[in-house]
């Protein structure tokens, strides 16, 4: 992990963003030092919100593991005007590679304007200069969007900060557990319950527009896959299936939901068109077939089956043809989920009484185990395919929480939640 500096001569041929760039392909992280002073403002309220936004950006970038925001106490220059070049020498002394200068202006009509410039300290050039206007209560989303701009500019990849996590909030004793649908920002801020807890809910997942959630609930007479509209709060059972439905996921274009249906005790994979409500059976075996997940192009489906005698990962075409096994390592495999980039499949593996989150290529090779604990399960991808969240019970009897880890296997962290939490699902970037 190091920062790549293009030679001055080569820079002519390279796009501007390539001059200061983090190489994120390597496993060992050497985070980039970046200076993010509190955003300047002419009044106390402006400075206060400006400080909140800067703190949020620092926290986001630090949590990614790719950046090391410097302590503001070490800053030599204190800019009051962000529309002039910074004194680069002052920032080089404290070993900042990049500098974010921001300004916040409260305007009439309860609007605020935010301006920010991202500087390449070593190259002494501006990488980004943007402004936007919004209402003050949106300061957190603005901070997340600015974080995404910085991340994109300095890593070359899309960010994932302006996103949310839907999950199951858990409370009560294990033998009488209350499980509620809940949603929060990617950093754990603004947790909100979406259901009352009267009925158990499991395995929520976002639609590609992040406006809908599909999940499984015991609210209906037969436990079923539900749809939840985040804007209206409306919940509905999806389809009128002749048995329990579970393990739902949206197709990448959002037009279908794929799931398992139980008939006569046997689980098979079905797909339902959300517009026509037509349903189609995709697997037909006496084995367990569940946890289906589409490839990003919608052409293939990875799923979990014990048709070979133990739980393993299988691949099929979107019409159910061409079924073949892809997991051949030691242990049991389950809960596969396809990366939004398409290049990898994340899964849960149990081996030697431990549970692991791992990744493999869709062909089933190049398996890498990223985590180990008493019970790690149910990975979900950040929208850029760079970070995984999952459920962890670190040891027997310990309540579950949500954790995250970088695709390289570095930067393992617990995601803050109001209490016990499980089944995280990462939203796409919010539009």
């Amino acid at each position: 992990m190091r920062i790549i500096f293009a030679l001055a001569l080569m820079a002519i041929a390279l796009p501007a963003w390539a001059r200061l760039e983090i190489d994120i392909s390597k496993g060992h992280l050497d985070p980039m030092p970046i200076a993010i002073p509190d955003f300047v403002g002419a009044s106390d309220p402006e400075r206060q919100v400006g400080a909140q936004i800067a703190e949020l950006v620092r926290a986001n970038l630090e949590r990614s593991g790719l950046f090391r925001p410097l302590d503001p106490a070490s800053f030599i220059e204190h800019q009051s005007n962000i529309n002039v070049q910074p004194r680069f020498a002052d920032w080089r002394i404290i070993k900042a590679d990049a500098l974010l200068s921001g300004r916040l202006v409260m305007e009439s009509d309860n609007r605020m304007r935010i301006e920010f410039r991202l500087w390449d300290v070593l190259d002494q050039t501006q990488l980004v200069g943007l402004q936007l206007a919004t209402t003050p209560e949106n300061w957190r989303r603005i901070g997340n969007k600015i974080s995404d701009v910085i991340y994109q500019k300095l890593t070359g990849e899309t960010g994932y900060f302006d996103t949310r996590i839907v999950f199951t909030a858990e409370s009560g004793p294990k033998t009488d557990r209350v499980k509620r649908l809940a949603i929060m920002d990617q950093d754990g801020a603004n947790p909100t319950f979406l259901t009352s807890g009267k009925y158990t809910v499991l395995t929520p997942r976002f639609s590609p527009t992040a406006q809908q959630i599909t999940y499984m609930s015991y609210a209906s007479r037969t436990p079923s896959v539900f749809l939840f509209n985040i804007e209206t709060g409306r919940q509905e059972v999806l389809g009128d299936f002749p048995g329990m439905t579970f393990a739902p996921r949206f197709s990448p274009d959002g037009t279908k939901v794929i799931m398992s249906l139980v008939q006569g005790g046997n689980s098979d994979v079905w797909v339902m068109d959300l517009r026509t409500r037509q349903r189609q059976r995709l697997t037909n075996s006496p084995a367990i077939d569940t946890s289906p997940s589409f490839s990003p192009d919608g052409s293939r489906i990875v799923f979990n089956s014990d048709r070979g005698g133990s739980p393993q990962l299988y691949m099929m075409n979107a019409d159910g043809s061409g079924i073949h096994r892809i997991s051949f390592g030691k242990g049991n495999y389950s809960a596969p989920v396809w990366s939004p980039r398409g290049d990898l499949i994340a899964f849960t593996k149990s081996l030697n009484r431990k549970f692991h989150i791992g990744v493999m290529r869709p062909e089933g090779d190049v398996e890498r185990i990223l985590t180990t604990s008493y019970l790690d399960e149910g990975p979900t991808w950040s929208p850029n395919g760079r970070v995984l969240m999952f459920t962890r019970e670190p040891r027997p009897g310990a309540g579950p929480h949500i954790w995250s880890i970088d695709l390289t296997g570095a930067n393992l962290r617990q995601v803050p939640t109001p209490g016990d939490a499980s089944d995280p699902a990462w939203s796409p970037l919010i539009q």
């Binding site: 004793p173 294990k174 033998t175 158990t200 395995t203 946890s291 389950s334």
Partner: protein
């Protein structure tokens, strides 16, 4: 009036004193030797009556309402078949009853796979009851996967208990 009030207060005081237990028990006379006196106290312990025929309590006592499975398996053991046979006997006697069989798993598996496994366990119990003459129209099944453990601990004994199919009488039993 005043004197009446005073005497009432005094009376209350006296009665309060009277209810206070004496500091020392009065000496008891030694029991007199003589013929054994007959006491009306019932001899021995009270024993419960058997459950009312046709009640859920009778079903649970006669048959047992839970059968257990090996890890990641839905095959019925000999013990499970014996319990289910007794369940079938009872169910064939009380033909107005309806049952819900819920399939359950221990916590050592992923959530969705366990939902499928629990469904398979409930179905295994159901199929065996049907093979013994219980009408399928009287039986519903549900899977809770690993969501409803009956033992909240995380050890071999708890896991063994939590891998089960539970037969609940939902209607038609004598209450």
């Amino acid at each position: 009036m005043k004197s009446a009030f005073v005497s009432l207060t005094a009376l209350l005081f006296i009665s309060a004193c009277a209810s206070t237990p004496p500091a020392e028990p009065a000496p008891q006379p030694a029991p007199e030797p003589g013929p054994t006196r007959h006491t009306p106290t019932p001899s021995g312990h009270m024993t419960p009556l058997p459950p009312v025929p046709g009640s859920i309590a009778e079903f649970q006592k006669m048959a047992g309402d839970r059968v257990y499975f090996a890890y990641n398996a839905a095959q019925l053991s000999h013990e499970a078949r014996a319990v289910l046979s007794k369940q079938a006997q009872w169910l064939n006697r009380y033909r107005n009853t309806r049952i819900l069989i819920d399939g359950n798993c221990d916590e050592r598996g992923t959530r969705e796979y366990n939902l499928a496994l629990g469904a398979r366990r409930a179905s295994a119990a159901r199929d065996y009851l049907v093979s013994l003459g219980v009408s399928p129209s009287r039986i519903s099944t549900i899977s809770y996967g690993k969501e409803r453990p009956i033992d909240g601990r995380s050890n071999e004994r708890a896991w063994a208990k939590n891998r089960n199919a539970h037969t609940g009488i939902v209607s038609g039993a004598v209450s």
